[in-house]
């Protein structure tokens, strides 16, 4: 088990948002979390990168449990898991290229020439070869999100966490971002995906977890979960979502 989550509970200011969540992720696997808004999908990702402290449970990377109360341990986890946010969260004062290069330069201290070459290559990969010098407010939502993906990849993470990365985008921009992710999937990137794009989830995921009110209700391969859900709540959600 590469990443395993066991009995995870968490919340914000006294309100429990996650209750006893357990699942695991193998290297090279793509697992998706689906479910209604407020079901805790994003909180799972925020717990993993230490933005929300876990209240109970065990998160283990490569078999060893992570102590989220230790700064060093959290830094270690963040070295290996990279998250892409719904609102892209690009640094507004930096060009696309600087957004991608900043952490490798300032956190890792990798050699500048290498970092810049790598950042340019990453931007080219996500189809933004001509936007190196553009500031976030000069880019469309889809372009910003692709910069954010390049930025996450620049730290060479083991796992990419995608937090509803297309939810803030205009429909015609969703495809360009999803194509980028498809490319990563084809290259064997391990990913944990929170998404409302059901067709995409179905296409790329090896397993899908349906969450509701902070709990994992049902788990299974996408075909099974979408076509023959076992629980009523999952059936309900899937029918509603697929109807439109």
């Amino acid at each position: 088990m590469f990443l395993s989550i066991d009995g995870l509970s968490a919340g914000y200011g006294g309100t429990r948002v996650l209750e006893d969540v357990s699942f695991s992720l193998e290297r090279g696997e793509i697992v998706s979390l689906i479910g209604p808004s407020g079901s805790g999908k994003s909180t799972v990702l925020r717990c993993l990168v230490g933005l929300v402290p876990p209240e109970a449970g065990r998160i283990a990377l490569d078999g060893s449990a992570v102590d989220y109360t230790s700064r060093a341990a959290v830094r270690g986890v963040r070295d290996r898991l990279a998250i892409v946010f719904q609102q892209y969260n690009l640094f507004q004062n930096m060009t696309a290229l600087d957004n991608v290069a900043i952490a490798p330069l300032k956190v890792k201290g990798w050699p500048k020439a290498e970092v810049m070459a790598d950042a340019k290559r990453l931007l080219d990969t996500v189809g933004l070869g001509d936007k190196h010098g553009a500031y976030p407010d000069q880019l469309s939502g889809g372009q910003q999100q692709r910069v954010a993906i390049a930025r996450a990849l620049a730290l060479k993470p083991d796992v990419l966490l995608l937090d509803e990365i297309t939810s803030a985008l205009d429909p015609e921009l969703v495809t360009e971002v999803l194509d980028t992710i498809r490319g990563l999937a084809a290259n064997g990137m391990t990913m944990l995906v929170v998404s409302h794009e059901m067709a995409f989830v179905r296409e790329v995921s090896s397993r899908v977890l349906f969450m509701d009110r902070g709990r994992v209700i049902e788990t299974g391969p996408p075909a099974e979960l979408f076509d023959a859900p076992r629980t009523e709540r999952a059936r309900d959600f899937v029918t509603k979502i697929l109807r439109h």
Partner: protein, 230 residues
């Protein structure tokens, strides 16, 4: 009026009076620039100390808030007397110029701390999240992305604050610091008309304040990209 001024001018603009005024200008500038320079430094320190994303020790944050709230609310004149008598009680005999500078530092720190805080808080929290998950330290985040985005909010009121501090140095005349206002009063008492004595320092205050405002505007031009200026 102008006739009086012209008649008095040769007697007023003598070498010794100019040396006297130059000393006063020097002292005014020392108080203003040392006071505001240290005030900027401590102000940034205070704002950083009370920022929840940077300092996780709550009592430290409370201390910073207390300092800012207290020194921001006391009239500068009272602050001057407070510093003056505090040092006297402690048994130090401090040069009046030092007392004036310390009072300006206290006031400027608390004032600029609020400018910095408003700027830091104007930056969206998701910028901190993004930096944090990439292991940028809080101070790196502040320096590399938060402050650069905060300058448009920080700088305009800060320039006003700086000019305000220059004007506040005139209150140090009350504790006998030989600064511009004190010098004008002395010259007035030596028989020069109030018109020429205070008129001269009025022009000098204006030139200094105008220079600082221009400086502020040029710093703003350098730190804030064109499309982000308010």
């Amino acid at each position: 009026m102008f006739a009086t001024l012209i008649a008095e001018a040769p007697r007023f603009f003598t070498y010794w009076n100019m040396v006297f005024l130059a000393t006063a200008v020097g002292n005014t500038l020392v108080m203003a620039f040392a006071g505001c320079g240290l005030g900027l430094l401590f102000g940034l320190g205070l704002a950083v100390t009370r920022a929840e994303r940077i300092v996780h020790v709550a009592p430290l944050r409370w201390l910073a808030i207390l300092f800012v709230e207290v020194f921001r609310r006391i009239p500068v004149l009272v602050l001057l007397l407070f510093v003056f008598f505090t040092f006297q009680l402690l048994g130090f005999s401090l040069h009046a110029l030092a007392v004036g500078t310390i009072a300006i530092v206290l006031r400027a720190s608390s004032l600029f701390a609020e400018n910095f805080r408003a700027g830091i808080e104007s930056v969206h929290p998701n910028q901190w999240d993004a930096a944090e998950v990439m292991n940028l330290s809080p101070l790196q985040t502040l320096r590399l992305t938060v402050l650069p985005q905060a300058w448009p909010v920080i700088l305009p009121p800060m320039t006003i604050g700086l000019v305000g501090m220059i004007k506040a140095t005139s209150l140090a005349s009350q504790i006998s610091v030989l600064e511009l206002t004190f010098a004008a009063r002395q010259l007035n008492q030596r028989g020069f008309s109030a018109l020429i004595a205070f008129g001269t320092i009025l022009v000098i205050y204006f030139v200094i304040s105008w220079g600082v405002a221009r400086l502020g505007a040029s710093v703003e031009r350098r730190l804030v990209p064109q499309h982000r200026r308010a």
